[in-house]
C-alpha cells in the first residue's frame, strides 16, 4: 500500500465518522424535548442539580449509570424511594444507615437543598431511557400506577409509599427500622401523639433514631389510623 492510500484511509475514516456523529448530535438536541422533557427543567430542578454537584454525590452514586459504583443508582431514585424518604435519608444518613454495612457521610444538606434535590431527581426519573436500570423498573411501574389510579389505593400503599424506605409491612418495604406489625404491638402512643412523633420524633421520644418526616397532618393521621388498627 502506498502512503497516499493510507492517508486517504485516515481522512476518509475520520471525516465519515465525524459527519455521522455531527448529524446524530444535531438530532439528539432536536429530540431533547421528547426524550428528556427539557422544557420541564425549572429553577428548582436546576438548584437541585447544583446540590447534586455541590456534595459530590456522583462519586459514590451512579446516575444514568455513570459515576461511582459505591452506592445505589439514582436515575429512578424518585420512584424507588419517594420524595419523603430521599429527604430523610439525605439529611440523616448516620441514623438511617446506623446498622448498615456501608455508610453514607453526614453532608449537612439543608431542608431546602434536599427539596431541590428531590425536584432534580423527579425530573431525572422521567427521562425516557429505555427502562434502565432494570432493577428499578418495578418501582417506576408501581409509582405510575399510584399516580394514575389514586382511587384504587389501599391504605398500605400510602403507608409504604411514605414509610417503606425504612419500615416494612407484610414483607414489603425495607426493614431498617422495624415492621409495622411489631411496632403496633409495642407502642403505647395515642393517635395525636403518633402524628406528633412522625413530624418530630425527638419531641416525643428524645433518644429516637427516626428522622423528622416531611408529612402533612392529614397524611400522618391516615398513617396513624393504619398503625393503630394493627394492634
Amino acid at each position: 500500500m502506498e502512503l497516499k492510500n493510507a492517508r486517504m484511509i485516515f481522512w476518509g475514516g475520520t471525516l465519515v465518522s465525524a459527519a455521522i456523529f455531527g448529524w446524530m448530535t444535531y438530532d439528539f438536541h432536536q429530540q431533547g424535548e421528547t426524550l428528556a422533557h427539557n422544557s420541564k427543567i425549572d429553577d428548582r430542578v436546576i438548584a437541585g442539580k447544583k446540590v447534586w454537584h455541590k456534595y459530590n454525590c456522583n462519586n459514590c452514586h451512579t446516575i444514568l449509570g455513570f459515576g461511582g459504583y459505591y452506592a445505589p443508582d439514582m436515575t429512578k431514585a424518585y420512584y424507588r424511594l419517594g420524595a419523603n424518604n430521599i429527604i430523610a435519608i439525605v439529611m440523616n444518613p448516620q441514623e438511617v444507615y446506623r446498622n448498615s454495612f456501608r455508610k453514607m457521610p453526614q453532608l449537612g444538606v439543608t431542608k431546602i437543598e434536599a427539596q431541590n434535590l428531590v425536584a432534580f431527581l423527579h425530573w431525572t426519573a422521567n427521562i425516557e431511557n429505555r427502562q434502565w436500570p432494570p432493577q428499578d423498573e418495578k418501582y417506576v411501574k408501581a409509582a405510575r400506577l399510584r399516580e394514575s389510579h389514586p382511587e384504587k389505593l389501599q391504605k398500605t400503599d400510602l403507608v409504604l409509599g411514605a414509610c417503606g424506605g425504612c419500615h416494612s409491612f407484610a414483607n414489603q418495604g425495607r426493614d431498617i427500622a422495624g415492621d409495622f406489625g411489631e411496632i403496633a404491638k409495642r407502642i403505647t402512643y395515642d393517635h395525636d401523639t403518633l402524628i406528633r412523633y412522625m413530624q418530630n420524633p425527638k419531641s416525643v421520644k428524645p433518644d429516637s433514631d427516626m428522622p423528622p418526616q416531611n408529612v402533612s397532618p392529614e397524611t400522618a393521621g391516615l398513617i396513624a389510623d393504619f398503625i393503630l388498627s394493627l394492634r
Binding site: 475514516g13 475520520t14 459530590n56 444514568l64 454495612f101 455508610k103 453526614q106
Partner: protein, 446 residues
C-alpha cells in the same frame, strides 16, 4: 545512548512528577478498595468520604497520564524535528501551572471544593489554569513542528492528537442544566479522549519509539500509523454511542453505537500485528530487552484491556444489564493500565536511561516490577469482573436488592485489596528502578 538535544532535558521533571503521581494514585486505589471491603466508622467517612477519595484517585490518573504524554512529546519532538524545542522556559512555566493546578485541586477536594462531575471535578477557576497550561503546550509544540528541519506524518499526528485532546476538554467545563445533555458532552471529554485523542498520541509516540528502537523503515511505520489512527477515529467517534444507550437518546444510537463500538478492537488488533512485524523485521540489535518487553506488553495488554474487555459488554442487550456495575470497573482498570499506563512506562524506559547516558542498564528490578504489576493488574481485573458478574446477577437478574448484592462484594474486595497491595509493590519497584537506573558492570570497566 545519550540525549541528542539539550532541550529534551525539560521532559525529565515531567516524567518524574508523573511517576510520583502514579504511586499516589495506586495508594488511593487501595483506600477505595478498603472502603468496599470493610465497614468504616461514620466519623471517618464524614471527614474523608469515598467520593473524595475517588475524585483524588481518578484525577491523579488523568494528571499522571497527561504529564507522561507531555513529557513524552517534549522528549521525542526535538529528535523528530531535528532541532531544539521552541522554548524550554514555556515548558517549565507550563509544568509549574499544571502541577500547581493539580495540587490545589487535590487539596481542594479534601475541603469539598469540587464541580461534582466524575473525573471532571476540577472547579472552573482551576480549569482555566489548565487551559492556559494546555495552550502553552500547544504553542510550544506547534512552533517546534513548524520550524522543523523535515516534515513527518508523526509530528502532525502528535500535534493533531494534542489539539483534539485540548478542544474536547472545553466541553466538560460549562454547567449544563439538563443532566441528559450534561452526560452527552461529558463523554465528548472522556470517550473522545481515551478512544480518540489519547489513541492518536499513543499511536504516534509508540510509532516513534518503534522507529528508534527497531530501526524499521519510517515509511512502513507511518503507513501503519495512518491506517490505525484512521480506524481508531472511524470506529471511535461514532462508537461514543455505546455510552448513550441509557441516557435518553434516540433509538438508532443502539445500532450505530453497537456496530461501531464492536469494531473498536480492530485498530488495536492491527497495533498488535504491526508491533509484532516490526520487532521481527528489526534492523537494530536488542540492547535493553526490558524496553522490548514493554513494547510488546503494551500492544497485548492494550488489546485485552481496552479491546476484549470493552467488547464483551459493549453490545446493547448485554450492556443493559452490565452498565454502571463493577464490570465497568474491571474494564476501566485493565484498559487504562494496558493502553496508557504501559505507554507512559514504555516511554520512560526509553527516555530515562538517555538522560543518564546509560547504554545498557541493570534490569532485574525492572523485570520484577513489570511482572508483578502486569500479573496483579490482570488478576485485579478478573476479581472486579467476578464482583461485577455477581452484582449484575444478584441485583439485576434475581432482583434481590442492592444491599444483598453488595454485601457479597465485601469478600471480593478483600481479594482485590490483596492484589492491589501486590500491584503497589510492583509499582514501587518499577518507580524505584526508573529513578535509580544503573549501567551494567562491563560497561563501567571498559
Amino acid at each position: 545512548m545519550t540525549i541528542k538535544y539539550q532541550s529534551q532535558k525539560v521532559a525529565l521533571p515531567y516524567m518524574q512528577l508523573s511517576l510520583l503521581l502514579f504511586v499516589l494514585q495506586v495508594i488511593m486505589g487501595l483506600w477505595l478498595a478498603a472502603n468496599y471491603a470493610f465497614t468504616l466508622p461514620q466519623g471517618l467517612i464524614d471527614v474523608f468520604s469515598f467520593a473524595t477519595s475517588r475524585a483524588i484517585h481518578t484525577n491523579l490518573l488523568v494528571a499522571w497520564m497527561l504529564l507522561g504524554f507531555m513529557g513524552g512529546a517534549y522528549f521525542i519532538l526535538p529528535v523528530e524535528c531535528e532541532r531544539e524545542l521552541h522554548s524550554t522556559k514555556v515548558a517549565w512555566l507550563q509544568l509549574i501551572l499544571f502541577a500547581a493546578a493539580a495540587v490545589t485541586a487535590v487539596v481542594g477536594f479534601l475541603f469539598g471544593w469540587t464541580q461534582g462531575k466524575p473525573l471532571l471535578e476540577i472547579p472552573v477557576p482551576l480549569d482555566l489554569v489548565i487551559v492556559v497550561a494546555a495552550l502553552l503546550f500547544l504553542f510550544n509544540i506547534l512552533m517546534t513542528v513548524l520550524q522543523a528541519k523535515n516534515r513527518t506524518v508523526l509530528q502532525w499526528m502528535l500535534v493533531g492528537g494534542v489539539l483534539f485532546l485540548a478542544l474536547m476538554y472545553l466541553f466538560g467545563i460549562p454547567f449544563y442544566s439538563s443532566l441528559n445533555t450534561d452526560y452527552y458532552y461529558w463523554w465528548w471529554v472522556i470517550h473522545l479522549w481515551v478512544e480518540g485523542a489519547w489513541e492518536l498520541i499513543t499511536a504516534s509516540i509508540i510509532a516513534f519509539v518503534i522507529i528508534q528502537v527497531t530501526g524499521v523503515e519510517r515509511k512502513v511505520v507511518e503507513k501503519w500509523l495512518y491506517v490505525e489512527t484512521g480506524l481508531f477515529l472511524f470506529t471511535g467517534i461514532v462508537g461514543t454511542g455505546h455510552h448513550y444507550y441509557w441516557i435518553g437518546a434516540p433509538d438508532y444510537w443502539l445500532w450505530w453505537g453497537g456496530i461501531f463500538s464492536a469494531l473498536e478492537p480492530l485498530p488495536i488488533l492491527l497495533m498488535v500485528v504491526d508491533t509484532w512485524f516490526h520487532i521481527r523485521e528489526r534492523k537494530n540489535p536488542i540492547v535493553n530487552q526490558l524496553l522490548w518487553v514493554y513494547i510488546v506488553a503494551l500492544a497485548i495488554f492494550h488489546f485485552i484491556g481496552a479491546g476484549l474487555f470493552g467488547f464483551v459488554h459493549t453490545l446493547p442487550p448485554i450492556n443493559y444489564y452490565t452498565h454502571g456495575s463493577q464490570i465497568t470497573v474491571s474494564h476501566g482498570h485493565m484498559a487504562f493500565f494496558g493502553a496508557y499506563a504501559l505507554l507512559n512506562l514504555t516511554v520512560f524506559y526509553f527516555a530515562l536511561p538517555q538522560f543518564k547516558g546509560i547504554e545498557r542498564y541493570k534490569a532485574t528490578a525492572g523485570y520484577w516490577g513489570f511482572w508483578i504489576m502486569a500479573v496483579s493488574m490482570f488478576l485485579l481485573g478478573l476479581v472486579f469482573g467476578v464482583a461485577g458478574i455477581l452484582q449484575v446477577y444478584l441485583e439485576r437478574f434475581l432482583d434481590i436488592g442492592y444491599s444483598t448484592a453488595h454485601i457479597t462484594m465485601m469478600f471480593w474486595f478483600k481479594v482485590a485489596l490483596f492484589f492491589g497491595v501486590c500491584f503497589l509493590a510492583g509499582t514501587l519497584t518499577t518507580v524505584y528502578h526508573l529513578f535509580t537506573l544503573k549501567p551494567v558492570e562491563e560497561e563501567r570497566s571498559r
